[in-house]
Structure formats: C-alpha cells, structure tokens
C-alpha cells in the first residue's frame, strides 16, 4: 500500500525566501509528526497533529516555522524568511494513533543558500 509521501524531495531556497513542504500521510492515520534532521544527527521533533488539531508545537525553532493540517489529512510545513541554519532534511511521519509505530516519509532536503 501507499506509504507516507513528501514533496518536493529537494528544495533549494535563497535566504529570505518562504518555502512550503508537503506531507501526504497514510490514509486514515490520525497522528502526524514533523521532524527536522540535520546532517549526521538524529531526527528532532518539530510538531504533532491529531487529526486537524495541532496538539504540540514545542519543537518549532522559531515563529518563522508554521505547520497546518486543515482537513486532518495532508499537512504543510511552512518556513518563512529562510535562513542558512534551516538547511536540513524535514521528515514527516504518521501513525494510526499516539501509541503506535510511526511511519516516516522519505523527507524533503532543504538547502538555503
């Protein structure tokens, strides 16, 4: 069956540009997570949705980061006025519920020049 998909797979942005990263979770999965993975590091939590409700955004590094999941399915992570330190792989994961295995997408590699 279809897994978690993310688009684009690669994004190059000039410093100061806004970017939008899309995540299509597995159909029917209630929980959706965003993680940021810097080179050579493990993924770090950004934010969590249960259906359309954003229940935890404690990991978002600044107010330039914004995530939404308006219909409880597709989610978008938006980064405004990108900075070089935003360069990383952004991973999306979904699960049937909070205490279930998380299924990760392939990630979007963002490079800010």
């Amino acid at each position: 069956g279809a897994g978690v998909s993310q688009s684009p797979r690669y994004k190059v942005a000039k410093r100061g540009q806004d970017v939008a990263l899309r995540c299509d979770p597995i159909s029917g999965h209630v929980s959706l997570f965003w993680y940021q993975q810097a080179l050579g590091q493990g993924p770090e939590f950004l934010t969590y949705f249960q259906n359309e409700a954003q229940l935890d955004k404690s990991g978002l590094p600044s107010d330039r980061f914004f995530a939404e999941r308006p219909e409880g399915s597709v989610s978008t992570l938006k980064i405004q006025r990108t900075q070089q330190e935003d360069s990383a792989v952004y991973l999306c994961a979904s699960s049937p519920g909070m205490n279930y295995e998380q299924y990760f997408g392939p990630g979007t590699r963002l490079t800010v020049t």
């Binding site: 493990g42 993924p43 939590f45 997408g105």
Partner: protein, 112 residues
C-alpha cells in the same frame, strides 16, 4: 523520556551477527524500548520493540536484561544492505508516545 547511549559506529562483515547495545539507565517502569533503522536518503523505519526479556521478529532480536538499564539489538547474518544508522529509543507504553526522541544512532557499516 529516558536518555539513551549507544556507540557512534560499528563495522562488520557480511554473514556475521551484529549486536548493538544501548544504555538507558533512567528507564521508567512503563517505558518500552524501540529500535529504528535509517538508510541514506530515507526516513527511519521501525525494526523492533520490547519491554523485557527477548523479542524476535523476522528482521532482528531484542534482548533486555532484568534491570532494563540496557538493551541489545541483534542482527543475524548481516548483509551489505544492512548498512544503515540504527537508533535506540525509550518511551512510554507503545514506544511511540507522542514525539520520538532520537539520539545520534549507531552507524553500522557492513563490508564484503
């Protein structure tokens, strides 16, 4: 969530058994131990989860001693395709309580 410590890297050869040990001295009573695998340019993938003693599936075995302060992921007869980063995570019942907290993981390199 309990902090975990695991080796930064390990080398092995095809056909060998690989054991990766993870320390989690502050594990709580209702914490599970979960291992994820990550290949380059891919997201992490769930491998195995356990609470105590031994768990085995088609991919790996997980050994957890009685004090649960450590765990060992065992990969039997590795192949080149097992080259990946392996993450040990400790969390509440179900192992996927809210967000997952990853460390740096163990980079396993399998050589021919």
């Amino acid at each position: 969530l309990a902090k975990t410590t695991q080796p930064i890297s390990m080398d092995s050869y095809e056909g060998q058994e690989v054991n990766i040990t993870c320390s989690h001295n502050n594990i709580a009573t209702n914490d599970y131990i979960t291992w994820y695998q990550q290949f380059p340019s891919q997201g992490p993938r769930f491998i195995i989860q356990g609470y105590k003693t031994k768990v085995t599936n088609e991919v790996a075995s997980l050994f957890i001693p009685a004090d649960r302060k450590s765990s060992t992921l065992s990969l039997p007869r590795v192949s080149l395709s097992d080259t990946a980063v392996y993450y040990c995570l400790v969390g509440r019942e179900g192992g996927s309580q809210g967000n997952l907290i990853f460390g740096k993981g163990t980079k396993l390199s399998v050589k021919p």
